[in-house]
Amino acid sequence: MKRYAYYQSCINESMTREVDRSIQLWQHDLGIEMVKLHESTCCGGSNLDYVSPKHFALVNARNIAYAEKMGLDLVVSCNTCLMTIRSAKKKLDESPELKDEVNGILKQEGLEYRGTSEVRHLLWVLIEDVGLDAIRQKVKTPLGNMRIAPFYGCHILRPSSVLGKDNPLEPTSLDLLLGALGGSTIHYDHKNRCCGFHTLLVAEEESLNVAAEALKEAMDEHADCIVTPCPLCHTVLDGYQSKALRKNGLRGSIPVYHLSEVVGLALGYSERDLGIRRHIVTA
């Protein structure tokens, strides 16, 4: 059983609780164990980095240092947490002065940021550590009857200087995983575009336009559902779906699943157990 320090994203503890719930259901089936990091704090959500760059470095050095203390990689299942924590790590690794300053403060908690733990997305762990072949062999109910629109979201791809795993222009990781689960994915322009989440409360109309365009393209391409590795994208595409479509004079609806849920479905778990019935848009 390979173990990981699991970062608890704020949104997965509040609005999208089904993400952590589904991971807990199937993790042992795939030979992995996510050890919840109860000490972790909010990463700053792509905002703290400019409100106060130094607090941003401190908070995320601490998040990573807890994983380092356990000798484990830090795994996250929210794109923005991934990008944010990785970007803090990059800053810390590139600046010995900042690292020293932060470690001077973390000392009182008996912590030290060394830079030894990787910060990884759940999707990457599934592909790189569990492996597509191993996943294929575990599938009990292949997703074959679904035509899936993969929606990567921004912060698992961009900035590539911080993420650097998938090709931001032509990403394949999510397609590969969905393929291993027996699903067929469609090619559409919005697969690497933005959901509009980060301006929902600041420029709502623009955000809803952004979301509507993505939803429209997926529906125009006759996708049966959208799958995303990010709970923030899910919140917009599912929670705000009817509002976004209505404001843009569009009709229809399309279910949106979390990556962790479709893994669970393929491994034979029910929609009820996975928490899929908590979605706003139901199939």
Binding site: C42, G45, S52, K54, Q108, G196, L201, E204
Partner: protein
């Protein structure tokens, strides 16, 4: 070796350019023309398009000048990505083509189309003007020409990268929010505003910043990083956008905007609980009236699905929060000292 690798290793091959065409004087809507020409390895997309214009179809309209990645005139979307035609190798694009052997060429997005591959740059220039993106010298006019206005190495480093911008508008074309609303300031303009705002010779900082924090300004950026990813000069544009925001929040106290309140809520919540208190985030960002008007119908649906974020008292603080708070406060002390040092300079 696969067939496609064999093809790509050849020094010469037939390539089809699927080029966007639109002449508003005769066409009712845009269409694409296919031009298939023999191309040698090492040829750029711009040279190929110029060849088509000279030898195949003189009516094809495009804009280009320096042919060396300096002037920024030939930005267009090649295989759906905004970039300079003059620095883009045909061979590289063949590897990315969705249809084998076919390279798609389209005009930039988010700017009005004039003809074929040429877009109107005036809206961008207009925004540069609106946000006062030039240096308004601090030096009194009577001293002009008599005295040097020196910039130290340290001061210059802050905007060195931003000065690499050649105004090609690739980032403008790729911008998510501009696509959703043409009024949005746009990444190139934010980059330039940042560059002017951190220039120690400039006297218009406050005026510019006051404009930047208004509607359709710096707070409307949705952090998608498409601008940065498409920048032909690899300028970290998001650092500039965040730089303006940091300036608005920390240094000048330009806080009375929903964007600033939203950003600061993260800081407050982390300081208090280590966790974001999502339930009250809309109210803290936009007030009660806005929240009731905009989010009430959705809140009802969320209650039914048991999706509502927990009320503030039920948001569980991170384990070890007491120690964390002390550390957070200690860092606040460091930041205060940094600011003192900076304002003393």
């Amino acid at each position: 070796m696969t067939d496609s690798t064999v093809q790509h290793n050849e020094d010469k091959r037939d390539v089809t350019f699927r080029v966007h065409r639109f002449n508003p004087q005769v066409d009712s809507k845009p269409y694409h023309d296919d031009y298939t020409i023999k191309i040698e390895k090492g040829i750029t997309v711009l040279r190929a398009l110029n060849y088509i214009k000279e030898h195949v179809d003189p009516s094809l309209t495009l804009r280009a000048f320096c042919q060396a990645g300096i002037c920024g005139s030939c930005a267009m979307r090649i295989n759906n990505m905004s970039k300079l035609a003059c620095t883009t190798q045909v061979w590289d694009e063949l590897d990315k083509a969705r249809e084998p052997g076919v390279i798609k060429v389209d005009p930039l997005r988010n700017l009005p189309l004039i003809k074929d591959l040429v877009v109107e740059m005036d809206p961008l220039v207009g925004k540069m003007e609106h946000y006062s993106n030039w240096i308004d010298s601090k030096m009194p006019e009577e001293q002009w020409g008599k005295k040097e206005f020196l910039v130290s190495e340290e001061e210059f480093v802050k905007y060195d990268k931003a000065t690499d911008c050649i105004l090609c508008a690739s980032c403008v074309s790729e911008c998510t929010i501009l696509r959703a609303n043409r009024e949005y300031v746009s990444p190139a303009v934010l980059l330039k505003s940042y560059r002017m705002n951190v220039d120690t010779r400039d006297a218009s900082h406050d005026l510019r910043l006051a404009e930047l924090v208004k509607d359709h300004g710096v707070w409307d950026c949705t952090h998608c990083y498409r601008c940065q990813e498409s920048c032909v000069k690899h300028i970290p544009i998001m650092d500039a956008i965040h730089g303006i925001r940091e300036d608005a929040i920390e240094r000048r106290g330009v806080k009375d905007t929903s964007g600033a309140r939203h950003a600061e809520a993260f800081m407050d919540d982390i300081a208090r609980k280590g966790k974001l208190v999502e339930a009250t985030l809309p109210i803290r960002t936009n007030g009660v009236g806005w929240t009731l008007k905009n989010l009430l119908p959705m809140a009802v649906k969320m209650v039914i699905k048991r999706r509502t974020p927990p009320p503030p008292p039920l948001v569980k603080a991170s384990k070890g929060i007491e120690k964390f708070r002390e550390e957070f406060r200690e860092m606040s002390g460091h930041v205060a000292k940094d600011h003192e040092k900076k304002s003393g300079e």
